[in-house]
Assembly symmetry: C2
């Protein structure tokens, strides 16, 4: 049975300040926890229905687990339809080193919508983009909506939070910096450098001026519409990575 | 001031059955209502703050409007942060005619997530895809989450709901039917017919067998990942339309 303190602790992790102070975040559902079990993440405890534990106990080895009823799971879950298992996981950001940034590095300037960030992480996984640098004001990657919408890709892509101006100032090598704009060169006709930085901007305001000053080449996705002014940022990133990778 | 009946009516439109019986839906916020005002949609009434009315009264002409306080707007709004104006709009689906399906027609087989449908409508607008055929089980386009996430593109793209098997059976001409799968021909190396049908499937289950039987050419977006199993459906559609259009 869940203790009051356990319920309180898990629910407190809905807020970023508590995730930061506790260094914990939540992963939910059968698919996500399966991906988690084969990742390098440190699982502190698993809360699951008896059915799930019976089916998966061989994978748990030294991981602490606790059987909960479906009612208890509803009490701690962030999902409308909780799916058998919830894991309490240690927040463990990878060490940052400029020398590990191979291939395309995606740079996100103030992405605010959790679904967009999660979807972009999933895209990066699909296109083998290993590293994402988020501006410090971007939505927190351990927000449960981000975590869940990555569909497990969170465990295969490195996410770093940086002051982007410092990031470019301190970058020890000269790489082409591409930025996505509504005007710029049509990406269909561009050759892209293999090792480079690609910046996409905030949902409403695009790339901020201070970050834009580091861009070498402005890119655009051709707009053949009579009326649409912009694309959703995750859709634009899909097309850019498809063209880049 | 809002009457109790007005509040009840507007809030009842959160449910599809009430939208269908009343033939009304809701459009919210300054950007969306601006797009609405320049569309062919029939606006039944606008509820807005005095500030918004003062700024926009010249655009309203014969449209009935009513000043509401910010508190009242919160009472009827579906948004976390209501944005000055809410419009009650007549549901008016365009007449369907096979002869009007020029260029690429996008066919959605049971898209369930409102954000995905809204984002796909916005994409179609960007890529000048004028017609979308949704299976009858797809999420309702007049769901407020769909409406809001189209960012106004809803007013420029024709959406039809059909039994897809009947749609293909009754189609009077022979067009190539493309379908998006995890396996199939790599779209980077395909020539696409100008007038054709492109099917994308449900978020979890892809294209259903009964619909898949009408497909002439299976397409895939190359997966260069070590682990990602699938792309978000709106991201996949972005890449397909980018390649098709």
């Amino acid at each position: 049975m869940l203790s009051k303190n356990q319920i309180k602790h898990i629910k407190s992790l809905q807020l970023k300040k508590n995730r930061v102070s506790e260094s914990d975040f939540i992963v939910e559902g059968e698919k996500m926890v399966n991906e988690l079990l084969s990742s390098r993440m440190v699982i502190k405890r698993i809360f699951a229905t008896k059915r799930w534990i019976d089916l998966n106990v061989s994978k748990l080895k030294l991981i602490e687990y606790q059987v909960v009823s479906e009612k208890e799971l509803i009490m701690i879950s962030n999902l409308t339809n909780p799916n058998n298992v919830l894991a309490l996981v240690k927040i463990d950001l990878p060490n940052f080193d400029y020398n590990n940034l191979k291939g395309i590095t995606l740079i996100l300037d103030d992405i605010r919508d959790p679904g967009n960030l999660g979807t972009i992480i999933r895209l990066c996984d699909w296109f083998n983009v290993s590293n994402i640098i988020c501006s410090n004001n971007s939505v927190d990657v351990f927000n449960y909506k981000v975590v869940q919408s990555t569909m497990g890709s969170l465990f295969r892509v490195n996410i770093f939070y940086k002051d982007l101006v410092n990031f470019f100032h301190e970058c020890p090598y000269d790489r082409t910096v591409y930025g996505a704009f509504l005007s710029g060169s049509n990406i269909k006709r561009m050759k892209i450098d293999k090792d480079s930085f690609l910046i996409v901007g905030n949902e409403s305001n695009g790339i901020s001026d201070s970050v834009a000053s580091f861009i070498d080449k402005k890119l655009r996705i051709e707009n053949i519409s009579q009326g649409a002014e912009s694309l959703n940022v995750a859709c634009a990133t899909s097309i850019l990575l498809y063209q880049f990778c």
